[in-house]
Amino acid sequence: MIELTPKAAEKVKEIRDSEGLGTQGLRVRVLGGGCSGFSYDLYFEDETTEMDQSFESHGIPIYVDMMSFQYLEGVEIDYVEGLHGAGFKFLNPQAKSTCGCGSSFSA
């Protein structure tokens, strides 16, 4: 399962509406890279494949390929704002560590 916090879902809807993307879902991926080895990737998409796991959180469809899902099961995606910036934050129970900026993790 992958979930959005209410604040993250609200932000996703806001971005989706501002871009005129209708009811597109959120694609969540893991890529190799970043200081700790793996990094997160988010973008809108309206197509899925048979290799995808699909979820819905606060009305937002979420699509995850099976390779990425092994690193993402149980993830909660939050949206945080602070003096040093704003962005989506991944709370990943499978991450052994994260880099200083939080954009990558090790598993």
Partner: protein, 279 residues
């Protein structure tokens, strides 16, 4: 023997990285900036703690409009460990790693034939060095001999390397060495963004100092007696502050404590020796 016309078969292997995401994926795996372009760039594959698994030369072999293809040259001794480390971080990217049979020949003096796949000033010990990456090393070596190149052996290559102050994976740096300790900063881009193992390297660069430094000790006076790998380097008070990592009769490389280097002279066999930090 004319040392300006020598050919050495290097103990290196070549990994082929190809796929639509090859460049951007590799950018996150090695320390050098592979997106800058150019035929060849020196970089490092690091562990999570920022220590060096291997150094690599990244050769961009992509042709315009075709799927990106890069070759990673690296010492044979590190190939399996580097391959394992790199393969672990391919998730959903369109990237494939392929072990090749390509070999690397280093020449002192530029080969005249234009048919060689790659010839470029690169990793060798001499400013007039060129690297040739080929599928059939013996045939190319025979062609080079016909061009007037003599075949050099490993011992001569090592002598030239050490006297030029070039560190080598294995004797001079490796899994217990940080890039800044081994004079490998030129293989690290501090502007390209994130790559695996970046944080310890950047923290050391901006907040600290390397605990050790690689130095070249040259010339070695005959009064020093034989200098061998593993021999201790001491400070003026006779305290051991480092170790010889590579040596020839003329020059040596040693990994020494930075504080001792900053404090004053270093000694070998009780004699003060001239040192130069490898940068």
């Amino acid at each position: 023997m004319d040392e300006r016309r020598l050919a050495f078969l290097l103990d290196e292997r070549v990994l082929r990285v190809h796929g639509d995401d090859a460049r951007t994926w590799l950018q996150g795996q090695v320390t050098c900036d592979v997106l800058l372009g150019g035929p060849s760039v020196h970089g490092l594959v690091l562990s999570a703690t920022g220590h060096v698994i291997t150094d690599v030369w990244v050769l961009d072999r992509s042709r315009s409009g075709e799927t990106p293809e890069l070759w990673l040259r690296m010492p044979s001794r590190a190939f399996d460990a580097a391959m394992k480390r790199l393969d672990r971080f391919i998730v959903m990217e369109d990237v494939e790693l392929e072990v090749t049979e390509l070999r690397v020949i280093h020449t002192l003096g530029r080969p005249t034939r234009e048919a060689y796949p790659t010839a470029r000033l690169a990793a060798g010990p001499n400013a007039d060095g060129w690297d040739v990456v080929v599928s059939d090393a013996e045939t190319t070596l025979a062609e080079l001999e016909r061009e007037g190149f003599a075949r050099g052996d490993d011992a001569l290559y090592e002598r030239l390397r050490i006297e030029a102050g070039k560190p080598r994976l294995g004797p001079d740096f490796g899994e217990h060495t940080l890039p800044q300790e081994a004079g490998l900063k030129s293989a690290v881009s501090f502007t390209k963004g994130c790559y695996f193992g970046q944080e310890p390297v950047v923290m050391l660069e901006h907040r600290g100092k390397p605990p050790k430094r690689l130095v070249q000790i040259a010339p070695l006076a005959s009064s020093l007696g034989p200098v061998t790998v593993g021999a201790p380097v001491t400070d003026a008070e006779g305290r051991e502050v480092g170790t010889i990592t590579s040596a020839t009769p003329e020059a040596a490389l040693a990994l020494v404590k930075r504080r001792a280097l900053e404090a004053g002279e270093l000694r070998l066999n009780g004699h003060a020796v001239p040192t130069r930090v490898v940068e």
